[in-house]
């Protein structure tokens, strides 16, 4: 199997709206390698979420091509290639945390005998061991989002797609979850696509930062990060970190045609 996980060539997506066509993605070329942590950053309307949704077969491109694990997005979805984490945890209030994590397993027809072991393993990965029998309303927002990450990991997809998963959380919780997410990525070796609009978050987490710009949504810069894999939180004050952050900020500024 090749190390190319996501390969986009000349990808276009135009939404037809009442106000005329909106170019959500225009001529997007990108290749993501196995084990990459890729952040997509840019102002709203730059197509970062749209790109992730195309990868997940939630939107259909109007031009160009895209492959996920060498397959079309629809085939990759059916092959359980990725787990998707949305902005809100979206846990079912009538299911316990364990029940919520079992939901995709039930839908995919994974044998019941495996469920308990899988639930225990992913709860440990997100540090929620012991919360299996709790209901979502008994957990804080940060814990709910961790449970939703556990749910996306439960069926062993190689790719984790995350659409501003920590956007609704306060900064202290966010820092902690970012640190945990990095640890989880190192331990599992998954390929992660992560949408954010926070520059420090993108630089701290990523091996590759994709800077995007709106109207039409396109890629301005792809920055390979040379930060070490082991990243304590205070790396954010190092000169290397600040240099990367500046390059991202310059890219974002250049993308705005109006200044």
């Amino acid at each position: 199997m090749s190390s190319q996980v996501i390969q986009a060539r000349g990808l276009d997506l135009t939404f037809r709206t009442a106000d005329g066509p909106v170019h959500a993605l225009k001529d997007v070329n990108l290749s993501v390698q196995r084990g990459d942590f890729v952040s997509f950053i840019g102002p709203s309307g730059c197509g970062k979420t749209t790109f992730l949704r195309v990868v997940a077969d939630l939107e259909q491109p109007t031009g160009g091509e895209i492959t996920v694990n060498g397959m079309s997005p629809a085939e990759a979805r059916r092959a359980r290639a990725y787990g998707y984490v949305f902005q809100a945890a979206g846990l079912y209030p009538w299911r316990t945390i364990g029940g919520n994590i079992r939901l995709p397993l039930e839908i995919m027809g994974i044998p019941r005998a495996e469920h308990a072991a899988r639930v225990a393993r992913v709860l440990e990965l997100v540090e929620l061991t012991g919360f299996e029998k709790k209901y979502p309303w008994q957990l804080s927002g940060g814990m709910q989002q961790r449970a939703s990450i556990a749910r996306a990991l439960s069926f062993d997809a190689d790719i984790l797609l995350m659409d501003e998963p920590f956007g609704a959380l306060d900064e202290i919780v966010r820092d902690k979850l970012n640190e945990e997410l990095l640890g989880l990525w190192r331990r599992t070796g998954k390929t992660i696509g992560f949408v954010t609009h926070s520059i420090p978050e993108a630089v701290y987490l990523s091996t590759k930062i994709v800077v995007m710009s709106p109207r039409p949504g396109r890629i301005i810069d792809v920055i390979e990060s040379d930060l070490p894999a082991e990243r304590p939180l205070d790396i954010r004050e190092s000169p290397e970190f600040l240099a990367l952050a500046r390059r991202v900020r310059d890219g974002l500024r250049a993308g705005h045609g109006y200044d």
Partner: protein, 287 residues
């Protein structure tokens, strides 16, 4: 416990107003009789008379209570004059109609949510069906049903069902559509089938809506059964009680039937509320 005083105050005011209106409305008849007998009524005698007439325009609460007590506790429930027997006649039609209406409502809602054609074609007819004044067409429905061999309980239940399916359709459509875009996208990423989307997400998400609409539906199912009894003549039930009461000016009979119907409706709504609490608690959604 803090609510006891205000609640009792409202009750006392309500009962006092009732007694006052009984005096005002029944006084002309009392004066009329006194005049014909050539006697003069003192105020206290007038008040006492207006609260103890045999066929008052507005019976006083204690008269209704006595009539209800007489026709429930003091009679065998198999007697045709027993309010309990009449209640059972109406309730059996209510249960049958409610079951039919709820089942029909749920089925229609499932169809409407899953088929755009059904949404566009059936929904307007469902709404139109409720603009028909049921009191006006109930005799017609009873007659039509009689001619095709349907009568008695089933005919009454049909009117109950006709009235009670509507809130269930509206509530269930809303409930089955309550999952948001994100939750549906989530299931799509797991390649869930339509049956799975229905069973795992839409149906459980609709439960609070279902119970709310069932509460409305059961109360109108009872009204439907009573309406269905009006044109069938005196075969039993609250409806026939009210009808015969109004034929003979027996206001006490009418009022005791009204009280009986109100108590039944309250009990039915309460029962559904209880089931709702149990189900939602079991689902972990107790509020």
């Amino acid at each position: 416990m803090k609510c006891v005083v205000p609640v009792l105050t409202v009750l006392v005011v309500f009962v006092a107003l009732w007694y006052a209106f009984a005096v005002v409305l029944n006084a002309p008849w009392a004066r009329d009789r006194a005049e014909r007998a050539g006697t003069e009524l003192s105020f206290t005698a007038l008040v006492a008379d207006t609260w103890a007439q045999e066929k008052p325009l507005l019976p006083a609460p204690h008269q209704i209570a006595a009539e209800v007590w007489h026709t429930t506790a003091e009679m065998r429930i198999t007697s045709k004059r027993s309010l309990v027997w009449h209640a059972w006649v109406t309730l059996s039609a209510t249960f049958a109609g409610f079951a039919m209406g709820a089942a029909l409502g749920i089925l229609l809602a499932v169809g409407i949510v899953h088929s755009r054609v059904m949404d566009l074609s059936v929904m307007p007819w469902i709404i139109a069906s409720q603009t028909v004044p049921i009191l006006a067409v109930a005799p017609m429905i009873i007659v039509v049903l009689y001619n095709i061999g349907v009568q008695g309980l089933v005919a009454k239940a049909a009117i109950s069902a006709y009235l009670s399916f509507f809130p269930v359709v509206v509530g269930m459509v809303k409930g089955l559509r309550s999952p948001d875009r994100m939750q549906l996208d989530q299931l799509h990423t797991w390649s869930a089938s339509r049956t799975q989307v229905f069973g795992k997400l839409r149906l459980p998400a609709s439960m609070p809506y279902l119970f709310t609409s069932l509460k409305v539906a059961v109360a109108i199912a009872l009204v439907g059964a009573i309406i269905g009894e009006l044109p069938t003549g005196a075969q039993g039930g609250f409806g026939s009680r009210m009808l015969s009461g109004s034929y003979y000016g027996q206001t006490l009979i009418i009022w005791s039937a009204l009280v009986g119907a109100a108590v039944c409706a309250g009990a039915l709504v309460g029962l559904i509320g209880l089931v709702q609490r149990l189900v939602l608690k079991r689902m972990g959604m107790a509020t």
